[in-house]
Symmetry: none
Subunit: 247 residues, 2 copies
Amino acid sequence: MLDRTHPTPLWRQLQNDLIRRLRAGEFTDTFPGELTLVDTYRVSRHTVRQALRHLREEGLVAATRGRQPRVAHTAEVVQPLDTLYSLFASVEATGRTQTSQVRVLDIRADGVIADQLDLEGSTPLLHLERLRLADDEPLAIDRVWLPAAIAAPLLDADFSRTSLYAVLADRTGTRLDHSSENIRAVIPTGAERALLRCPADTACLSIHRRGESAGRPVEWRHTLVRGDRYTVTAEFSVTEGYQRRPI
Amino acid sequence: MLDRTHPTPLWRQLQNDLIRRLRAGEFTDTFPGELTLVDTYRVSRHTVRQALRHLREEGLVAATRGRQPRVAHTAEVVQPLDTLYSLFASVEATGRTQTSQVRVLDIRADGVIADQLDLEGSTPLLHLERLRLADDEPLAIDRVWLPAAIAAPLLDADFSRTSLYAVLADRTGTRLDHSSENIRAVIPTGAERALLRCPADTACLSIHRRGESAGRPVEWRHTLVRGDRYTVTAEFSVTEGYQRRPI
DNA sequence: CAGTGGTCTAGACCACCGA
DNA sequence: CGGTGGTCTAGACCACTGC
């Protein structure tokens, strides 16, 4: 189960294994308590608590003194605003299964979008539109445009289960190193609400992102996320050299 | 030194005492190591580490294995924490006038809010509720709670034209050095929409903020911002990480 | 009542760093 | 080399929760 000879600390191995089991859906609602984990993994309680600390801080597991610990199925995805994030990764990190329905994948020209990317209006762009789901429940409508000169190799990729950024880096070697986003609150149109299957009283976050690689704009993206399932978080600290907690 | 009969955990008492000594300038550059603290405070190393964890995460103390621990010199300059709320100030920079209507300013207890601040439910809190306007047009409903033990001197302040953080720093010397925010999209209630005088089809950004000073929570804030007038922006660079700034 | 998490102790070995 | 923080163990008592 755990490898005591491996240089990775025991508590991190334990943490990873618990995340794996969480993703595998092994704990539908209840979650083992600390003493149970001590027995099953044959480690001290201190080690168990160190492994659990991160899971609890991440909100994956809800535990209160006296009560039966539970898997926190907060019906929402929490998005830290501290990394160049991928919606795919943040959904998977919560133990949910992320899938996408590809609605559009083609190459076209669009003067408005090209303008945002500092390109000529007639420049061909690869356009990908996906309905993104977490555990088969609609989460967001995601539209992204990339210059065809860079992204053409993605035309035949399967985006139903993979991250755009992963495919982009894999097939073209392009990695985003800079991005800027605008986040607004909007009320979805009737068509959007129907597609997202969200209640009538639900607002959405409208996120525009412009991504760059080596100083060149390579991505214009618009994501419409259900407000009842998604939260953006941000952390600030005045101190220099502030180290973010690992995982 | 530490009171073992007091209900406050030992590690919290130790943390508070270390913060007190830090503020008193007792440690100019070097900082005692863990074993030193074990000796001086007569507690176990586990307790010392639990107390130090927050100080290190906050960046107040820099410690690396093998090296002499040091006091982290927090860039002595201003509090850059008003990224979002200087958004209101930046409105003035664009030529508009920003004002506030103070709707509530009193001291009360609120168990739910106190819980968010890690305080006892009966702890008195200073509560300030403002309707914030730009050029006499409503922008946001801003509610903030601070422990009365710290913020009581603000009871007779005039908040119609001034920043809370400025008054807080001026009258109490407290400056926020850390905060975390959650940003969601919501649809305002009828009362909120009426107060904000916004159209029926307008969504809002709901922003919860928890602010800390020297590792202790001092502010719980909820701001409801009109989605049709404000955008939150974020920048990311691989070299610099994310920084949010207002538009 | 049994089980939960929160706190605390007193040990131990290790990797790392600077003198 | 001595001191640092990182990890880990094997205990213990307590407050709280739900049955």
